[in-house]
Amino acid sequence: MIKNRDTRLTLWLLLPVLLVLIAYVLYPSLRTFLESLNKNGSIGFENYSDFFTQESKTNLEALWNSVYISVLSVLVSALIGIPLAFIFNRYDFPGRNFFSTAAIMPIVLPSLVGVMAFMFLYGETGLIPNAIKDLFGLKDVPFKIGGVSGILIVHAYTMYVYFYMTVSSAINKIDPSLEEAAFNLGANRFKVFWKVTFPLLTPAIVAASLLVFMISMASFSAPFLLAGGYRVLSLQIYFSKINGDMEVAATQSVILSIVSISFLLFMRWYQNRKDYRMASKGIGAHRSEVKNPLMKWALVAAGVIGVIILLLPHFTILLLSLVPDGTWTWQTYPSVFNFENYRLLFEDPNIFKPLKNSLILSFIATTGNLVFGVLTSYLLVKRKFVGKSFVDILVMIPWALPATVIGMNLIFAFNEPTIFSFGNILVGTFWILPLAYFIRHIPLVVRSTNAVLEQLDDSIEEAARSLGAKWFYTFRKVILPIIMPGVLAGTLLAFVESVGEFPTSVLLYTLSNRPISIEIMNQLRMFNMGQAAAYGMIQIAIIAIILFISNKFFGVKAERSLS
């Protein structure tokens, strides 16, 4: 039946991918779906009709707000991420390396502490508005964040990184002669960007938009912390769950997923209308060196200032970590600084255990993501098979669902022995957390890999195979090295996110694998803002070191790749 080896190969590759997706994504999600069909013991779509016909319309309102916030978040994140990616990848200036790495630091901001840092910075009593007030002798603070604008700012702040990373790796893959051709035809810088560079970045932008849209849809901390009671769907799910309406929570989750998946399908359709493979002759020739110095320095200045603003919350955390507890309560500005918080932290002999746990867990999960992500992405981009859309949707589900829902799904699915867990109960064991991280970050790695693979000319693979290389060899020696910089970008992001992952951790961690985010949360719960901040700083430092190392590692690699 299977007509040729190529189809057979596709099947063989598809098999493990499908297995993983079905076992760890579809199966748990189905349980949520089944739950949503259950209304007081009878099966049906009653919960759904309730959702839409509910008298107070809060659900519909929340749904609308979620979509609205998500669309805006995509736009704002893109507006920050794309220009930054452009500046840091197209211009060379002293410190470029530092700034371009620093630009991804927002993602390492521990979520809760991070939002608190925002409040300390920009809230009504925040440092910046008050500093401006005092500086100019104003009567009232000039601005403060809160409500929708607050959510948007925090979303943009944490999510622009997706744009920044995917677009960065795609920019480096663009054949410079394409832009040159446009310049040559008389297009100015702006036109070239809009008509050529930007459209060529479509796969990357689509990938990032998807990721951002979905996390915004599922985003919890920002609306929760910043907008008091602004109603969004993810919060509704949380409250339904707290109120014990598991069926309603499930229904809301399913609807949220449907919205996210519709967005996914729309983006896919949009992207497939055109072709973005730069199958130009030969190798993407030469790097253009033409730069307008004035423009360059203006942009660079903008980029650097941007990054400094982006790093302000980190500095705030640093500041908080240096202020001993109880000395900055009603005062506008802190006055006492010392290392008391760090001293208290380091007195605990177990301080490094959560750190180590986080690193190990993230490493395991991310390794899995790397292998699985590259394989899946290759299948999705370079192979033809029936049911591709289905696989694509499965891949994205972990982002379409709020993290807590994923956590709950896992609990439902794996607190009893199943074949997928080889007959073990996973809940309460070490392995449940890496599994959760892995599932959470499948879409991230797959999407960012898709973006680079889509730009890879097919004839490269063909050349290798006609030279006699088997598929696997070709994959290992040719495809992988070429796409690696892009893939690593996504993987790194996944790793960093795993280190800070909170919502699933809190549901699933055990004594043996308690990660750092939980530790920070606990400090906060005990009102030890300073120690939480100090812990946050340690987390930031660790991640910064990892980034630095991999940047060095990238540096070596990047030189050998296209760019």
């Binding site: 080896r5 190798i283 000319d457 490269i460 195979r465 598929w471």
Partner: protein
């Protein structure tokens, strides 16, 4: 073993039919060329042989073996891609060594063989460069070296020399030929350069719009084109639409269709190549180099006006007008002929043994 048989193959991309009803029989060790205008399906056919496309219909055989759906890496073909398809993350050396490493050769041997082939393509001193730092022609040579080094059973070359200068191209041609003869590699060569095709090939297939018009040796194709498309595609040719007057034992008499001055032209009665449909349109063909500049009148001698003179190096191309019909005349670059000026009136002879009557098929190259 490495003969190739293409059996009634069709390849469609959606609605676009790139290759249709193709039958080819390429012998073991043969140097076979695909010739045809841009977009006629040469690359597509090559890719079906290499295994990158599967035919929509039909069968591809190597020897007796049905290879239609065998994956490319099992075919032992070496291919030079029209767009090179070099591995961007590897150096020149690594690119070339790739095929050998796949074959698990000893490091030493890999080195030796790569060095050897790099010498042949004159890239020895570039071996450590990244391919993105090479010029277009240098990249093309890397692609060639990469395919040659594995000494494949079948060598597929898609315009492998199009970016090289004449001199280097000449050398590469001899090198390819030498290798081909030495290792008896069945070779399929795609080119748009008919001089190249004529000088290198054992046999040539002429394509247009996905259809093969003629398969034959270079002289067959050149001297006895099957129709006006083949005739005009291979080398320059003068085609005069004519109508048949009468046929005698060793001569055919025709007259120019739109002419008034030339009453009758005498043509040798060659056996016709292709079925000449006498109901259909026919044309008189003569190669520009066959037209003679003469001083005296005689059979098939006409008066002509020089319109343009082009200098092509060793050949001079003179455009003349006879009887409202433009004709190309090629003559060697000697002082004599370079003295010709536009406006001169000269006498030309159309030697009857160099003319042919061929069928006219409708349409033109795209």
């Amino acid at each position: 073993m490495a003969s190739i048989k293409i059996d009634n193959v069709q390849k469609a991309f959606g609605k676009v039919v790139a290759v249709d009803g193709l039958n080819l029989d390429i012998k073991d060790g043969e140097f076979f060329t695909f010739l045809g205008p841009s977009g006629c399906g040469k690359t597509t056919t090559l890719r079906m042989i290499a295994g990158f496309y599967y035919p929509t219909k039909g069968v591809v055989r190597f020897g007796e073996k049905d290879m239609t759906r065998v994956p490319p890496e099992k075919r032992n073909t070496g291919m030079v891609f029209q767009n090179y398809a070099l591995f961007p993350h590897m150096t020149v050396f690594e690119n070339v060594a790739f095929g050998l490493k796949v074959r698990k050769l000893a490091v030493k041997e890999v080195k030796a063989r790569v060095q050897e082939v790099l010498n042949k393509v004159r890239l020895e001193q570039y071996s450590d460069r990244q391919v993105s730092q090479l010029s277009g022609g240098q990249q093309q040579r890397v692609a060639l070296a990469r395919a040659l080094v594995i000494e494949p059973e079948i060598l597929l070359l898609d315009e492998p020399l199009s970016n090289l200068d004449a001199k280097l191209r000449d050398e590469m041609r001899s090198e390819i030929l030498r290798l081909q003869k030495e290792y008896k590699i069945t070779t399929i060569y795609v080119t748009h350069d008919q001089a190249e095709a004529l000088s290198m090939s054992d046999r040539i297939a002429v394509f247009n719009f996905g259809v093969c018009h003629q398969v034959g040796t270079p002289t067959e194709i050149y001297n006895s084109p099957a129709n006006d498309f083949v005739a005009s595609f291979i080398g320059e040719i003068n085609l005069l639409p004519v109508s048949l007057n009468r046929v005698e034992e060793d001569s055919v008499y025709v007259s120019s269709k739109n002419g008034t001055i030339i009453q009758e032209i005498t043509v040798h009665n060659h056996p016709h190549i292709g079925e000449m449909n006498e109901q259909g349109d026919i044309a008189l063909s003569i190669r520009p180099e066959a037209i003679k500049l003469v001083d005296v009148d005689g059979e098939n001698v006409f008066r002509a006006t020089v319109k343009e003179v082009h200098f092509f190096g060793s050949v001079i191309n003179v455009q003349i007008e006879v009887d409202q019909q433009l004709l190309q005349v090629h003559t060697l670059n000697t002082l004599l002929s370079s003295k010709l000026q536009p406006g001169d009136v000269i006498r030309i002879e159309l030697p009857k043994e160099h003319m042919r009557i061929i069928p006219v098929i409708s349409g033109d190259a795209p």
